[in-house]
Every structure is written in structure tokens, then in C-alpha cells.
């Protein structure tokens, strides 16, 4: 309990639970939603994006236990997972009283935004940088299905591995992630002709990898320690943390612009600093 501005500050139970689960279970949960392709919204998967091509719902060992067939060539299924470096606190979901947003934000060393009474806070600080993939599928060699991993979900594929899974025999393998926390986009990419049905695509955090991937081209919004780690070569302070940014201060900005904290859907890894016209 902390006394602030003469008011007692209570940490709401939902917020407490969120923090606790983040600390305790960050390395144990399934990394993707609907790994068994059971949730269908019409002809599309509810939790996966079909970037290209066409998919179909088909039975696997049982007509009611579905898998996804990558029908056309090419077909790409993808899902963005992980947590951004920072995001706006969902005060309502966390049961934080509107009057307590500022004090709560201060408590967690976030950046309070008085104009909108919102709090920008750091939500991802680390965790296991290794993922175990468990795949059950029936993929013909000619289908040339590969797993693509996009660190930071910035649109650039950073890692590719063929999906060698036929006859529904489960296969398992490890992929290292970069040392920095952030979003990851997993893609299942069918590039050739042939049958490709996937029943399970599970991704679990683990600490079994012997190394981590060093990627010194972190996208905007990702936490950083120095500019050389960022694709933009700029690592700027946001609040209690630093993130790859377009600017560190107003020096590099044009006339009438200031180096502001920007929250941009185009860069989902978190807030970053960029030169914007002063309001």
C-alpha cells in the first residue's frame, strides 16, 4: 500500500493477477492461439490470418477433430504472438479506477498521458528466448511447406525452416528467438503443389536452446540499450525503459517538430519516439 496525493492506492486484484501470471507463467503457456485449428469462423480460422491463398477445414483422425488444409499454392497462414515492449494500460480491464490511473502509472514507472488519462507502461521485460515447436501434420514433400519466423513482426522473415511432418507423426524442434522481448509472427507457408494438412502447430516457451539469436536490427518500439541494436540506430528513453526510435531528442527534427512518444499501429512492438509536429 502506497500513500499518494493523500489517497490510499490499492492495486486492483485484476492488475495484480495479470502481473503475477506474467511473472509465474510467462514461460509455460502455449505461444499461439488455437494451435489445433479447431476454432473456425465460417471458412476462416478465427485466430489465424490467411495472408495468401485458400484454406479448408478437414477432418483428421476423426471427422470432428479438424485440421487445416493449405489448399492453394501459395498459401500463407500466420499469427502474431508475444507481447510488445510497451502498450497502453487497459484500465477498465484491469479494474483501475479512472481517478487512480495516474498514481497507478507512477507506481509502475509508466508514462502518464494527461490529455487522455492513459498510461503507457512496459509489459514485456524478458522470458525464455527459446521456443519448442510441436507439429502434427500430413504434408507431402512436394508441398514445400516451411515455417517462417518474423522477429518483431515487422514484416521481414528472419528465420525459415522446412516443415517435415508427414503421416501425422508428431515432430518437435527448437527455434531460438532474439534476446530482446517483443512480438513474433509465425507463418506457415505452402510454396509447392501437394497435400498439406496441419492438425497441430504448438509453440511453447522453453529454455532448452543453447544460444539466442542476435538481431541488431530491432524494429521501432522494441526495448533497447544502445542505438547500434536498432535498425534506426537510435535508442531513446520512453519512460523507465528505452526503445528503438526515430529520434532521441528534438535535435534531429525539422522545423516545428519535436521528438515525441508515438503509439502507432504500424509499429506494434510498442511506443517509440519520432519527430512529429508539435500540437
Amino acid at each position: 500500500m502506497t500513500k499518494t496525493n493523500g489517497k490510499h492506492l490499492f492495486v486492483p486484484s485484476a492488475l495484480f493477477a495479470t502481473l503475477l501470471s506474467s511473472l509465474l507463467f510467462s514461460g509455460c503457456e502455449e505461444d499461439v492461439e488455437d494451435p489445433s485449428f479447431q476454432a473456425w469462423c465460417g471458412d476462416m480460422l478465427c485466430s489465424w490470418d490467411t495472408e495468401t491463398g485458400r484454406i479448408a477445414r478437414v477432418g483428421t483422425w476423426h471427422p470432428s477433430d479438424y485440421g487445416v488444409e493449405l489448399v492453394e499454392t501459395p498459401t500463407i497462414l500466420s499469427q502474431v504472438t508475444g507481447k510488445p515492449t510497451s502498450e497502453l494500460m487497459d484500465a477498465e480491464a484491469l479494474e483501475v479506477d479512472p481517478d487512480d490511473v495516474e498514481s497507478t502509472c507512477n507506481l509502475f514507472e509508466g508514462l502518464y498521458l494527461p490529455d487522455t488519462n492513459e498510461c503507457l507502461w512496459q509489459v514485456s521485460t524478458g522470458g525464455d528466448r527459446c521456443r519448442r515447436f510441436e507439429v502434427t501434420a500430413d504434408v507431402a514433400d512436394t508441398a514445400q511447406v516451411q515455417i517462417e519466423v518474423d522477429y518483431g513482426a515487422d514484416g521481414s522473415v528472419d528465420y525459415t525452416q522446412p516443415m517435415v511432418a508427414s503421416g501425422w507423426e508428431p515432430v518437435s524442434f527448437l527455434i531460438s528467438l532474439p534476446e530482446w522481448p517483443g512480438l513474433v509472427r509465425y507463418r506457415i507457408h505452402k510454396r509447392g503443389e501437394g497435400r498439406a494438412v496441419i492438425a497441430h502447430f504448438g509453440v511453447h516457451a522453453t529454455n532448452e536452446c543453447v544460444d539466442v539469436v542476435t538481431v541488431d536490427e530491432r524494429p521501432l518500439g522494441v526495448a533497447c540499450d544502445m542505438g547500434s541494436q536498432c535498425a534506426s540506430d537510435v535508442c531513446a528513453s520512453i519512460a523507465s525503459w528505452q526503445a528503438c526510435s526515430e529520434c532521441a531528442d528534438d535535435t534531429g527534427c525539422g522545423a516545428g517538430e519535436t521528438c515525441q512518444v508515438v503509439i502507432d499501429d504500424a509499429h506494434p512492438n510498442g511506443a517509440y519516439r519520432a519527430c512529429r509536429t508539435a500540437p
Binding site: E29, E30, E33, D34, P35, S36, Q38, A39, G59, T60, W61, H62, P63, S64, D65, T136, W168, E169, P170, A199, H200, G202
Partner: protein, 568 residues
């Protein structure tokens, strides 16, 4: 042949009681009263109270055939004695209260005829344990004095009472083993009152026996054979009381004299002054008869195919034809005579007389005859079993491995064993060989798959098997312990249910069918003639379940089952 038993004290076995006021034991059948025709009206109302009780009292082993003897006596009375089926009251292992109630009911019914001035006949038969002063009804006693009072109170024109009182040995089943008692003498003396007469299966210092070979008490068996017509000496188509007595006396003595226990002499005491010969049965009026022609001679063992029941065993002399009234059906006759042994299959039509002839028989060897005779033991036509137990193994398969591959885990109640329910109906087709219709619940399995959002897919199935099996049975000890082996095939049925955790998807139910094979070894404990227990180990191969990827699951496996058995 009955086994030799240690010498036991004097006792008796069976009594036939008639109206009498003058006690006079007739030990010599030739001295038995030659009775004239009875003065009963043709429409005399006939009633029978037939009682059989296998259970023994404290220190007594249960009898094997007392209740069966009573059943057969009731059958003969109905078939050939003109006792209407509705007036034959058959009590199996009754309590004292039930017997008292039956006697009271009998008296009430007879009293109605007496009040109308109508004649009536009462036949009372009892087979079971007894002590010197009482019948033994399991753990209870029924005093002879009470029986005497009940019989005295019957206002019938003619009262016939058969008491077959016994205690038993394990094999030859000596009846009445109380060395301090003379049941025969005491019962006759006590029942020897006005309106009552007695015929006993043995004299006062003898034992009575049951026969494994005949599956009956010696005396009751021969009395029944006599009543079926073999004892009809004067060929008048009726078996009179004295005729039945003389035949039963001779045959019982002949049979039992070969046993270690020794011969038993049937006794008869009557007082029918003013009456004529009492006709007990009318075999000539039977619709189905087996005639042994005049020229035929030798020893004959006549066995009914259904139930393998010995219907008659007799010595036939050449010179006169002999007819037996038997229920229509199939019979086997083992005929030893003229230096050869013949095996004859006979089918008695519902109406008509079948004449046995050598041309319809095949000659067999002594070994075959011995085997045939050995088959003439206690038998049953139908049996039913109901049991439960545990099934093991047969748990994991490519099918369950596939479930594991797809993320399913055994449910909380999916243990490494299953409760197995088993039921069977058995029909004997040959001695020691029977056919069973079986039903088994094979297994019940549940697998779950849980997702991050806590939704859960459940896949569960149950499997059953119905089949036909062939069982071979081997007696291991007396008539209470048997071993058996069986095997067969049938239909396996599996009903599976896929229940998706997401509400928008419906539950999917599938039914799979397949062939199942099964084999079993078991033990049957039969402490009672018609009921007992069984313990069985079985293996069932039932690859019924199959998934869309071609994996199969065997729902069978090893099972141990125990349960109850009844047989008729």
C-alpha cells in the same frame, strides 16, 4: 456306482403312506397285500403336495437330487396319474411355515369336496433330510407328530403320502445318517393312524442312498420307472400301488446291494379294507409310449436326450412286451443283451407307440458303452450366468497412441482396468458340451484435450461384445466343482462420442462394428443343484474401433469375472 461310505447307523429313506389303521410292515414284496380294485369314483378329485428339500441342517451336507426327485414325481403324477397340474403343489426347499401353510391349504381344498359328498385322493411326497422325529427343512425341523396331525385332519377318501427323508454323504449320499434314530420305524409308527398307511424305501436299520449315475435317489428313481408302466404286471394299463411297490422293492434292493452302504428294503404298510387295488398311474392312456417287444431281453438304460436324464434302467426278460409311458421327445437307449451292446436313438412322437428294435440300433464297444454311461450323470438343459469383474491389458494401441499424438490425455476415470460385466445363457447340446449366447461389456474409455482457453474436447467410447461360444465342461469333484473351457466369436460394438469443447460444434456419435473372438477358462462351484458360482478368466480380441487414419483399437484383453450361475 455310489461310493463306499463308512458304516452309519440305522436310518430310513422313503415312506409311502396310505389310509391304514393296522400297522403291519411289509418287508417282503411277495407278502405285500394283493389289493383289489379301489372303490373310488372315476371322478374323484386328486390333489398332490410334492416337497423336495436339498439343504441340510447343522452338520449335514446338502443333497443333490431331492428337489429334482420331487419335480420328477410331480411330472409323473401330472402326466400319468391324472392329477390336474393346478392341483399339484410343488414345493422346493420350503420353510416350515411354507409347508404348514401348504398342508393347511390342501385341507381346505379337500374339505370342500368332503362337504359336497365328493370323493378325493391326496398324494403327499417328501424327499429330503430327516431325523428320527422330524423332517429336516434346512435349518428347521418339521415334527412327524405335526405331519401326522395334518394328514389325520385331511378329510380325503384316500390319502397317499411319500416321505423321502435323508442325510447325505458326499458321493453316494446316504440318506438319514443319524445313528441314534430309526426314522423309518418312528415315522411309520407315528403316522400309523386311522386313514394313514406307510411304504418306506428302507427298513428300520438301513440307509437310503442317492445315485450319481441315476441323478436321483435309488428308491424314487425306481418308483418313477414303475409308475411309467414297467411295473404293470397284469397288463391292465394301470400301475397299482402293490405293483409299483413290488417293482420298486426289487430294483432298489438290487441296485443298492451293489453299493458299499448295502441294500435297502422298501417297505409297505396298507390298510385298505373295503377298497380295492389303488391305481397310481395309467400309462396305457399316455399318448407317447416306448414298447419293448416280447422277444427283447437284456439290460436297458433309457436316457432322455434333453437334459440327459435317466428315465429308466431295467432288466427285461423275454416273453412279454413291456410299455413305458414317456414324454414325447428324443431318447437314447443303451441295450446290453444277447452278448452285444447296442446304442439306440429313439424319437417318441407326441402320439403313438414306438417299438424298440435291434435294427434301429448300432452295436458299440464296451468302452463306448462305458463312456456313454459315464455321461449319464447330473445334467442340465439350460443355464444362465451373470457376473462382474475386471478387464486388464488391451489398453494401449495405435489408436490410443494416435490420440496422444493429437494431444489427448486419458481422462480422470480412465484407469488401467475396467469394470467388466458379463452375462450368458447356456444350452447343453451334448454331455459336457454346451452352446452359450454371451454378452460382455468390454471397456469404457475417456480421453480429454484441453486448450489454452480452458475449452476441452472429450472423446469417449464404450464397447460391448455379443457372441456364441462353445463350452466343454469337465467335472472335477463330485457335482459341486467343474472346470470348463470355452471359445467362440461374435459381434463387437463400440459407440464413440466426440464432444467438442466449443459450443458451436455438435457432438459427434459414431458406432463401429467388428468381429470379436474370445476364449475362457473357468471353474464352476455348484453347492446347490440349481445355483452356484463361477470364476472365469478370459481373453477377448475385439479390434472394433477404427479411426479415419486406419488405426485400430482392441477393446478386449484379459478379464477376470466372477458371478452367479443358475441352471435347470
Amino acid at each position: 456306482m455310489p461310493r463306499t461310505l463308512p458304516s452309519l447307523g440305522p436310518l430310513c429313506a422313503a415312506l409311502l403312506v396310505l389310509t391304514a389303521a393296522n400297522p403291519a410292515l411289509a418287508q417282503d414284496p411277495q407278502a405285500a397285500p394283493r389289493l383289489q380294485r379301489v372303490d373310488l369314483a372315476p371322478d374323484a378329485h386328486a390333489y398332490a403336495l410334492v416337497v423336495g428339500s436339498n439343504p441340510g441342517g447343522p452338520g449335514q451336507e446338502p443333497l443333490a437330487f431331492a428337489e429334482r426327485d420331487a419335480e420328477r414325481m410331480a411330472e409323473v403324477l401330472t402326466e400319468l396319474g391324472h392329477y390336474p397340474a393346478g392341483r399339484v403343489d410343488l414345493l422346493r426347499a420350503p420353510t416350515r411355515a411354507q409347508l404348514t401353510s401348504a398342508l393347511r391349504r390342501l385341507r381346505q381344498r379337500v374339505s370342500i369336496h368332503d362337504a359336497r359328498g365328493e370323493q378325493s385322493v391326496v398324494f403327499f411326497y417328501y424327499s429330503g433330510h430327516a431325523q428320527s422325529q422330524a423332517l429336516r427343512l434346512g435349518g428347521e425341523e418339521f415334527p412327524l407328530s405335526e405331519l401326522r396331525a395334518a394328514i389325520d385332519a385331511l378329510p380325503s377318501t384316500l390319502t397317499l403320502v411319500v416321505l423321502d427323508a435323508c442325510q447325505s454323504g458326499a458321493y453316494s449320499r446316504v440318506r438319514g445318517t443319524d445313528p441314534a434314530a430309526d426314522f423309518s420305524h418312528n415315522s411309520i409308527q407315528q403316522l400309523q393312524t386311522r386313514g394313514v398307511a406307510v411304504m418306506a424305501s428302507s427298513s428300520g436299520d438301513e440307509l437310503s442312498q442317492e445315485s450319481e449315475r441315476l441323478s436321483a435317489g435309488y428308491f424314487t428313481h425306481h418308483l418313477l420307472v414303475a409308475l411309467r408302466g414297467v411295473a404293470d404286471e397284469n397288463r391292465d394299463g394301470r400301475v397299482a400301488l402293490d405293483e409299483a411297490y413290488r417293482y420298486a422293492y426289487a430294483q432298489t434292493l438290487l441296485d443298492t446291494s451293489r453299493t458299499a452302504v448295502g441294500g435297502q428294503h422298501v417297505t409297505l404298510d396298507t390298510n385298505l379294507t373295503g377298497h380295492g387295488a389303488v391305481a397310481l398311474t395309467y400309462p396305457a392312456r399316455a399318448s407317447a409310449q416306448l414298447e419293448l417287444p416280447a422277444a427283447l431281453e437284456g439290460q436297458l438304460l433309457i436316457t432322455r436326450t434333453r437334459g440327459d436324464t435317466v428315465m429308466a434302467e431295467l432288466d427285461k426278460a423275454a416273453g412279454a412286451a413291456l410299455r413305458l409311458a414317456l414324454p414325447a421327445g428324443r431318447y437314447h437307449v443303451l441295450w446290453r443283451g444277447e452278448g452285444v451292446i447296442r446304442s439306440c436313438s429313439v424319437t417318441l412322437p407326441a402320439r403313438g407307440v414306438h417299438v424298440l428294435s435291434a435294427s434301429g440300433c448300432e452295436e458299440i464297444t464296451e468302452e463306448q458303452a462305458t463312456a456313454r454311461a459315464a455321461d449319464s450323470g447330473p445334467s442340465m438343459a439350460w443355464g444362465a450366468e451373470l457376473g462382474f469383474g475386471f478387464a486388464m491389458e488391451g489398453r494401449d494401441s495405435d489408436y490410443t497412441d494416435r490420440l496422444d499424438d493429437f494431444g489427448y490425455q486419458p481422462g480422470f476415470f480412465d484407469w488401467n482396468w475396467n469394470l467388466r460385466l458379463s452375462a450368458a445363457v447356456e444350452r447343453q447340446i451334448r454331455p459336457h458340451l454346451s452352446v452359450l449366447l454371451t454378452f460382455d461389456s468390454l471397456e469404457s474409455r475417456t480421453f480429454d484435450r484441453t486448450f489454452v482457453d480452458d475449452s476441452e474436447d472429450t472423446f469417449a467410447w464404450r464397447a460391448w461384445a455379443v457372441g456364441v461360444q462353445l463350452r466343454g465342461t469337465l467335472p472335477l469333484a463330485g457335482h459341486w466343482l467343474y472346470g470348463y473351457a470355452q471359445g467362440g466369436a461374435g459381434l463387437g460394438i463400440a459407440r464413440s462420442r466426440f464432444n467438442p469443447g466449443r459450443e458451436q460444434d455438435p457432438t459427434n456419435v459414431q458406432v463401429d462394428y467388428g468381429v470379436q473372438l474370445s476364449a475362457a477358462l473357468g471353474l464352476r462351484f455348484m453347492p446347490w443343484a440349481h445355483a452356484g458360482f463361477y470364476l472365469q478368466g478370459s481373453y477377448t480380441f475385439a479390434p472394433i474401433l477404427q479411426n479415419d487414419l486406419g488405426d485400430r483399437h482392441d477393446s478386449g484383453g484379459v478379464a477376470i469375472v466372477t458371478g452367479l450361475r443358475v441352471q435347470l
